[in-house]
């Protein structure tokens, strides 16, 4: 026994309550879902391809304004906050990811993606994250959190999933005397033999740790500046949960407003504002969590990308493939993987399965599976999370 283990055992022994519930230093997957079908072509801009500029005369991001990443791709100017993350290799992108659903329906495609299903083969039941958490036996109260007011489909079937807008939602509401309640429950659960008593005391300890977290203050660290909207505040709550080491394995958060059929805008405009919120939010999260970087991975997906050509109302219509991004220490970033399989110009609007645009070249499940594996290791029974799916390596993680 070396000195360090000795001391840590000593301190654990001295504080029995804490010994029962050590900090759970689990990895956390932060799943950002862009609802509405994000036009990722204007986020990761294929600036070197003439066709992109030709087909989007009103919407293309001019090469001189885009932030160049390599010989093929550049970032939308509003993605600026993410540039250093890409350059330092912590932000990775896979082009042309998608579901095999060709309906072009938001609902169908989101549903399929959140359930981890395919048009071929039978659906597995529950959400893909729900299945993951259940096969992991993750029963901690805070193993899964969805920011918002409703449980996302992806978490259906999870043994425990908490939907909340603020951490303050946890704890005893409707009472003036939370401390008094904790004391009484402690007395009663302390006297209860078996699992119920043990888990009761652990839950109280969890509550105590949450209460001890700095209140609404709990200011972000390292000068992180979250966007002042619900997306920003949601990410901030996720960061607080990660820092507190409460066993958070999955956090889901949505950002809506991507269904840009009408007047999408280019370097500025409605979509640019969404992009800015997303980029500032993710960058702030990464800054805030600077001291915990090996403990989380962010994955950003949307139900489908949009067509490569603009429509008559200066917007874009539903397409297929999109660019998925992941952020974190375990990401082999600084690259845009996947090819750029746009449909040949002449059949842009004809006889192609589903809406035109990028092909869904990479099965989204292969990416999700790779991210899960990188986050939680070989203990994930992938055949239970994505039964019947072929999951070839993507190379993102």
């Amino acid at each position: 026994m070396n000195r360090r283990t000795f001391i840590s055992r000593l301190s654990l022994a001295a504080t029995p309550a804490l010994a029962a519930t050590p900090r759970e230093e689990t990895h956390t997957l932060v799943h950002v879902f862009l609802r509405g079908g994000a036009d990722t072509l204007n986020m990761f801009v294929p600036y070197a391809d003439d066709r992109y500029h030709r087909l989007r005369p009103g919407l293309a991001i001019p090469a001189r304004e885009a932030i160049r990443l390599n010989d093929h791709y550049a970032l939308h100017p509003a993605m600026k906050p993410l540039e250093p993350l890409f350059k330092s290799g912590r932000l990775g992108v896979v082009q042309s990811v998608g579901v095999d659903n060709t309906s072009g329906s938001h609902f169908d495609c989101q549903d399929q993606m959140e359930h981890g299903d395919s048009m071929h083969g039978s659906p597995a039941g529950g959400g893909w994250l729900g299945r993951f958490l259940r096969q992991q036996g993750s029963t901690s109260a805070l193993a899964a959190v969805a920011i918002g007011t409703a449980l996302p489909e992806s978490l259906r079937g999870a043994p425990a999933a908490s939907v909340l807008e603020r951490i303050g939602d946890i704890g005893f509401k409707n009472t003036q005397d939370a401390d008094g309640i904790v004391k009484v429950l402690e007395g009663m659960y302390g006297g209860e033999p078996g699992l119920l008593g043990r888990r009761g005391i652990e839950t109280l300890e969890l509550f105590r740790r949450i209460s001890a977290m700095p209140g609404d203050g709990g200011s972000p660290e390292h000068g992180a500046q979250y966007p002042r909207d619900s997306f920003g505040s949601g990410l901030r709550e996720i960061a607080r949960l990660i820092k507190a080491g409460l066993g958070l394995q999955v956090a889901c958060i949505d950002l809506g407003g991507w269904d840009t059929h009408f007047f999408q805008g280019g370097t500025t405009g409605p979509q640019a504002e969404r992009i800015q919120t997303l980029a500032e939010g993710l960058a702030a999260l990464d800054t805030d969590l600077k001291d915990h970087r090996n403990r989380y991975t962010v994955m950003v997906a949307t139900e489908f990308g949009r067509r490569i050509y603009e429509n008559a109302s200066l917007g874009t219509d539903h397409g297929r493939g999109f660019a998925l991004m992941a952020l974190g220490d375990r990401v082999k970033g600084g690259r845009v993987l996947g090819s750029w399989p746009i449909q040949a110009e002449e059949d842009l609007n004809l006889n192609t399965p589903g809406p035109g645009g990028l092909h869904a070249e990479t099965d989204y499940r292969a990416v999700f599976a790779e991210v899960l594996h990188a986050c939680f290791g070989p203990s994930v029974a992938m055949a239970k999370v994505f039964p019947q799916a072929r999951l070839p390596a993507v190379g993102l993680m």
């Binding site: 359930h115 039978s122 659906p123 597995a124 039941g125 529950g126 959400g127 729900g130 299945r131 259940r134 036996g137 993750s138 029963t139 901690s140 109260a141 193993a143 449980l151 489909e153 259906r156 079937g157 999870a158 043994p159 425990a160 999933a161 908490s162 939907v163 946890i170 704890g171 005893f172 509401k173 409707n174 009472t175 005397d177 008094g180 309640i181 009484v184 429950l185 007395g187 009663m188 659960y189 006297g191 209860e192 699992l195 119920l196 008593g197 888990r199 009761g200 839950t203 969890l206 509550f207």
Partner: protein, 487 residues
């Protein structure tokens, strides 16, 4: 025809049943949903009262007055009454729960409904029935079979098909014959979709392999149990028997749209051998009946079903003696569910198991609402805590159903406590209670709350922990206590 005043009021109330404010009033005044006056104080022995115990297991916990009703009529008579739900008038509950239109549609027609409506209605209906039905044992068994023959609303088309499964499979046979139940389930469009039976086809002169999914779960989960003594070959042979039974919502031209049907051209009509029994060639659609008879009649099935019943109603570690008795009754009666329950609740093991079962979140919530005679309409605000507690109805993803084990439910105690405290404080949205009036009607002092909710006197330690509190605080803490998590 002479219309009595009560009947007249009842009919007019039915017409107004969508009026949430009126229903509780009508129910309280006319339909025994109210609380009997002049009750003795709740039994407060050191052990849980045996009548309270029966009501905690064969019902979702006592409604105020129930314990004394059982005392008056005797446990056996009460159980007998409950075993014949058709004889129990349930108007008060119907007023609350009969309003969900999507539950009355045939399977194929339910596609007209939007998914959120379907999810909302079947869930609310289930919760309302559990809280307010006087056919308590029936509702308890509906929950049991819903888990046993689990179907996840979120898989494929199941959300459109589960309402008819709930009605025509689970509720129709909940206290009937196990064979009939399994047969109905095998033919249920929801099950044909959930476990892929609908794509189980073996066309002549093709290399079609049967889809074994349902056949396997039929043996592993629904009847014989995982170590029930069947082989992989038996599963394959069973799948051959079932091939050709399918469901197709797009058969709009057919008379039986929305029903499952048999396609002879998809059926493997050769000879099969299941569990050592020969099913001769040429049986066609009748192969399914032969198969159901064989698997339901297998001794492993008696044992498996008896074990599951004892797990649910006696102890999560079911005592062997009780399992044997119930299994023997299964065999004797060819799976008569009523008879098995009569035996189960009569075993000494049942009587001895007081307070040892963990309430799963649904039962925790329902028993709390019942004990406080709460007025609720099971709207979104009330379903949300259930979701947080990890027990969203009809949402268990895999075919084994929500577990009868303790560990999976231990992560969400915080949400139980929050619900308990909010409920008692009158701050749970979607629920109205009045603790003070209730206690006055029941004629007990605040110290009567513990026995009222738990069925026994508090231990010295519990008493020490609990006081002093105001009334709402006290009730909230009792509902949050370990004692109320058990039954």
């Amino acid at each position: 025809m002479k219309t009595s005043r009560r009947h007249f009021l009842a009919t007019s109330a039915l017409g107004l049943s969508s009026c949430d404010r009126l229903v509780p009033l009508v129910n309280r005044e006319l339909f025994d949903e109210g609380i009997p006056s002049k009750l003795p104080p709740p039994p407060a022995g050191a052990e849980i009262d045996p009548d309270f115990h029966l009501l905690s297991r064969a019902a979702f916990g006592p409604w105020p007055g129930d314990v004394w009703r059982v005392k008056k009529m005797g446990r056996e008579a009460w159980l007998e009454e409950q075993l014949h739900p058709e004889r129990i008038r349930d108007t008060a509950c119907d007023l609350r729960a009969e309003r969900f239109e999507s539950l009355y549609f045939a399977a194929g027609d339910a596609y007209e409904w939007r998914k959120p409506v379907l999810r909302d209605e079947i869930t609310r209906h289930t919760l309302l029935r559990a809280v307010y039905s006087r056919r308590q044992l029936f509702e308890v068994m509906v929950e049991f079979w819903t888990d046993h023959l689990n179907i996840d609303l979120e898989k494929g088309d199941c959300i459109h098909l589960k309402p008819s499964d709930d009605r025509d499979v689970i509720r129709r046979h909940a206290l009937g014959s196990f064979h009939d139940l399994v047969r109905a389930s095998a033919l249920s469009p929801a099950m044909l979709v959930y476990l892929d039976g609908r794509s189980n086809k073996v066309r002549r002169d093709s290399d079609d392999k049967p889809n074994e999914n349902y056949a396997r779960e039929l043996m592993e989960l629904h009847t014989m149990g995982v170590h029930g003594g069947y082989t992989q070959q038996d599963v394959l042979e069973a799948a051959r028997c079932l091939s050709g039974w399918t469901f197709d919502r797009s058969r709009f031209w057919a008379l039986n749209q929305g029903e499952s049907f048999f396609r002879p051209d998809w059926h493997d009509d050769g000879e099969k051998r299941v569990l050592g029994q020969i099913i001769p060639a040429g049986g066609g659609a009748r192969d399914l009946d032969r198969l159901v008879d064989i698997v339901c009649g297998h001794p492993s099935t008696a044992k498996h079903i008896a074990t599951k019943l004892c797990k649910r109603f006696i102890s999560m570690e079911p005592p062997a003696g009780a399992v044997d008795s119930v299994a023997a009754e299964f065999t004797r009666t060819r799976g008569d569910i009523r008879c098995m329950l009569r035996v189960l609740f009569g075993t000494p093991e049942f009587a001895e198991s007081r307070g040892r079962l963990l309430k799963r979140p649904f039962k925790f919530m329902v028993s709390a609402l019942r004990a406080l005679a709460a007025d609720a309409h099971a709207d979104k605000a009330l379903l949300e805590p259930l979701q947080r507690m990890g027990h969203g109805l009809f949402q268990y993803p895999t075919p084994d159903g929500y577990p009868d084990e303790e560990l999976p439910w231990m992560g969400t105690l915080m949400w139980r406590w929050n619900f308990a405290i909010a409920l008692a404080a009158g701050k749970q949205n979607g629920v109205r209670i009045n603790l003070h009036d209730l206690r006055r009607q029941l004629h007990f002092t605040p110290s009567g709350w513990f026995p009222h909710l738990v069925g026994r006197a508090p231990t010295e330690a519990e008493e020490k922990s609990l006081k002093p509190q105001d009334e709402a605080g006290l009730v909230g803490l009792i509902l949050a206590s370990p004692a109320f998590q058990r039954c």
